[in-house]
Each structure stands twice: as structure tokens, then as C-alpha cells.
């Protein structure tokens, strides 16, 4: 079947909207753990291969709505402005903030009223980059501004559950993000005045 360019773009857009949400979801710990731990951590040094059925019985069951909740929230966030998702996985290995998330990182202050995104802690990193932690309803993470002006995600974790509802950013940073902040920060976090001044100078 031959599609014209417009149809191809529509096809790509629809499939991206259907499947790209997973790219910005937090990686389940059971998957990242497989690759973080040294081989010696497993007795005998061989990973245990399981089949789907037994893997499933090892976890508490999750209903479909809960399972898709993270994706739905990503899509909601992504559709606030246009249909773009808030991050983009790049071939150079960087995951960049996009759309409303990038906008919040560029302009929003920690003192902003709760919304889709909150930006609680900003600081200068040891490597000289400006870094900002953020939370959404589902995710929390740390992004640092690269020389090309893009906000590169350093860590992304599931947000600490909040009672604010699907659309409202979580209030607390999860431990994984706090450790990333601790590891990267040079000196102290910015106070309100320093944050505003750095924002006004475009985080340069």
C-alpha cells in the first residue's frame, strides 16, 4: 500500500502517541536492577531465566487501569500543549525534556503554584551545569542544562504518591532523585532570589 507523505506523518503521529509514552515512564526497578548489579551479586553468577507466568505470580497483581495510569498521565501531560510528549529519547543517548516539561524547567520557579509540573530544587552542579529537580503527577526527576540549551534527564523515578490527583505534580522528591541531587550538587541549592536571577539570565 502506498501512502502519501501526509498519511505517513499521520501514521507516525498516531503510533507515537500510542507507544511513546513508555519512553518517559520510570523504568521498573526489577528491570534496572538486572543491569546495575555486578554478576557476583547473584549466587553462581548466572541470571535466573523465568517465564512470563512465574514472573507474574511473583508480583502483586495490578489492574489494567493502574497499569496504564502512568502512560495516561504522560499523555495528559503531553497533550496540554499540542501532542508532544514531555521528553525525547535521542540517538546520542540523551533523554531530553520536551514540551511542557522543558518549558517548566526553563521558566517556572519553585514558588509557582502547584500545577502539572513542580520544580522544587535548583542548583549549580559540580560539572558547572545548572540542574533542576522536577515532579509531575507520576514522575520525578533531575534534569541538567547542556551547552546546547537542552535539559537532559539525569534520573527519572516514580513520583511519591500524592493526593493531588492525576493532573497535579507530586510534592515530595523520591529518594532516587534526592541521591542524584546530592551526588551532583556543588555547594548549596539556590535560594529564591538566586533561582529567579538564574532563570532571568536563561540558565546560561
Amino acid at each position: 500500500m502506498n501512502l502519501n507523505d501526509e498519511q505517513r506523518q499521520a501514521e507516525r503521529r498516531r503510533l507515537a502517541a500510542a507507544f511513546d509514552g513508555v519512553l518517559v515512564e520510570p523504568i521498573p526497578p526489577r528491570l534496572s536492577a538486572l543491569l546495575q548489579e555486578p554478576v557476583a551479586a547473584t549466587a553462581g553468577g548466572t541470571a535466573q531465566v523465568v517465564d512470563l507466568a512465574s514472573a507474574r505470580t511473583q508480583r502483586r497483581s495490578m489492574n489494567t487501569w493502574m497499569a496504564w495510569g502512568g502512560m495516561a498521565a504522560s499523555l495528559v501531560l503531553g497533550t496540554v500543549i499540542g501532542t508532544r510528549l514531555p521528553t525525547e529519547a535521542r540517538s546520542d543517548g540523551r533523554a531530553l525534556a520536551r514540551g511542557p516539561l522543558a518549558q517548566a524547567l526553563n521558566t517556572q520557579l519553585a514558588s509557582a503554584p502547584p500545577g502539572d509540573v513542580a520544580v522544587p530544587i535548583s542548583f549549580k552542579a559540580k560539572d558547572g551545569r545548572w540542574c533542576r529537580s522536577f515532579t509531575t503527577a507520576q514522575n520525578a526527576g533531575l534534569a541538567c542544562r547542556d551547552a546546547d540549551g537542552a535539559w537532559a534527564l539525569q534520573v527519572l523515578a516514580a513520583a511519591t504518591p500524592t493526593t493531588g490527583g492525576l493532573r497535579q505534580a507530586a510534592t515530595a522528591l523520591p529518594p532516587a532523585v534526592l541521591s542524584a541531587v546530592d551526588a551532583a550538587i556543588a555547594g548549596e541549592a539556590l535560594n529564591a532570589e538566586q533561582e529567579k536571577s538564574a532563570r532571568d539570565r536563561g540558565w546560561r
Binding site: 501512502l3 498516531r14 507507544f19 523504568i27 497499569a67
Partner: protein, 165 residues
């Protein structure tokens, strides 16, 4: 010959978001998709000697996932289980909601109703963006086979979803 395991682990870890996305095109349910990623990563780590450094890691990982998936589908068929969404057979819509979260669900359901062969090429070519040549190498089939599968998969998707708007 032993590979540089820490480096390979890091590279696979960086691929996890894409592996999970490919998993979701193969398996409709999120937990099935992540189980599939887990199995593929475990298998990859036990046979790192089969990985040729300098070749495309994602292609190798996708192949392991796809093979693991076929094994699982056959096992499920033997057990009489199904992977299709619960609301199998319902009308999946006319495309008027393109781009919305609702449409995303419709598109995923439509993809879930494709045959295994069609779903695989949709995942590799249309979602993961592999070239026909890369997809053919990943699947170990001729490029012409991929070309015709993609064309038929597109046709099947359009029948389920209506014309791309």
C-alpha cells in the same frame, strides 16, 4: 571470548526505554511487555559471547525479545490462554479522536489484533524506526518479506482504525 560486561550492561540499560516500547507493541499488556523485557535482558546477559561488538545492540536485543515472545505465544497457545485485550472484537473506532489519549488506546488495541508477523514489523519499522534492511537482519528474513509484511500490516491497521486522517 569474554565481552566487556559492565559496558554492555550500561548500553543495554540505556536501551531499556526502547525495549519496553517494543515490548508493548508485541504484548498488549504492560506487565507482559515488561516481563518480556526482563526475560530478554536475562537471556542476553547469559549469552553475551553471541553479541558482536560494533554491531547494532538494539537489533540483537530486539531479536532476542522477538524470539522469546514467539516462545511465550506458543506456550500460551498450548495452555489455551490469550494475549488479546479483554474487549477483543469491539469496534476500535473511526480515527476521529486521532492524537488523544483515547486514540492511543484504540491504536494499541488495533495493533494487538494484528497477526504476530504483522505486529512485529509494525513494532520494528513503524514504531522503532528501523530501516527495512535492519528489520530484515533482526528477523533473519529477506528484505522483500519485510516490505510486504509492512504493507499488509498497514492495510490491516487501516481496516481496523479507518484511513489515517
Amino acid at each position: 571470548m569474554p565481552q566487556d560486561l559492565p559496558a554492555l550492561r550500561q548500553e543495554i540499560a540505556a536501551l531499556l526505554p526502547r525495549l519496553r516500547r517494543f515490548g508493548r507493541t508485541l504484548a498488549y499488556r504492560q506487565e507482559d511487555a515488561d516481563d518480556l523485557v526482563q526475560i530478554a535482558v536475562e537471556k542476553a546477559l547469559t549469552r553475551t559471547e553471541q553479541w558482536t561488538p560494533g554491531t547494532r545492540l538494539y537489533s540483537w536485543m530486539f531479536r532476542i525479545m522477538q524470539n522469546a515472545w514467539i516462545d511465550e505465544v506458543r506456550a500460551r497457545e498450548r495452555r489455551g490462554q490469550t494475549f488479546l485485550p479483554e474487549e477483543e472484537g469491539e469496534q476500535v473506532g473511526d480515527g476521529s479522536t486521532s492524537g488523544s489519549p483515547l486514540d492511543a488506546v484504540l491504536v494499541r488495541k488495533a495493533v494487538a489484533q494484528l497477526s504476530e508477523e504483522h505486529r512485529t514489523v509494525v513494532g520494528l519499522v513503524l514504531v522503532e524506526g528501523l530501516s527495512y534492511q535492519e528489520a530484515a537482519e533482526t528477523l533473519g528474513v529477506p528484505v522483500g518479506t519485510v516490505t510486504s509484511r509492512v504493507a499488509r500490516a498497514r492495510e490491516a491497521l487501516q481496516n481496523l482504525l479507518g484511513e489515517w486522517p
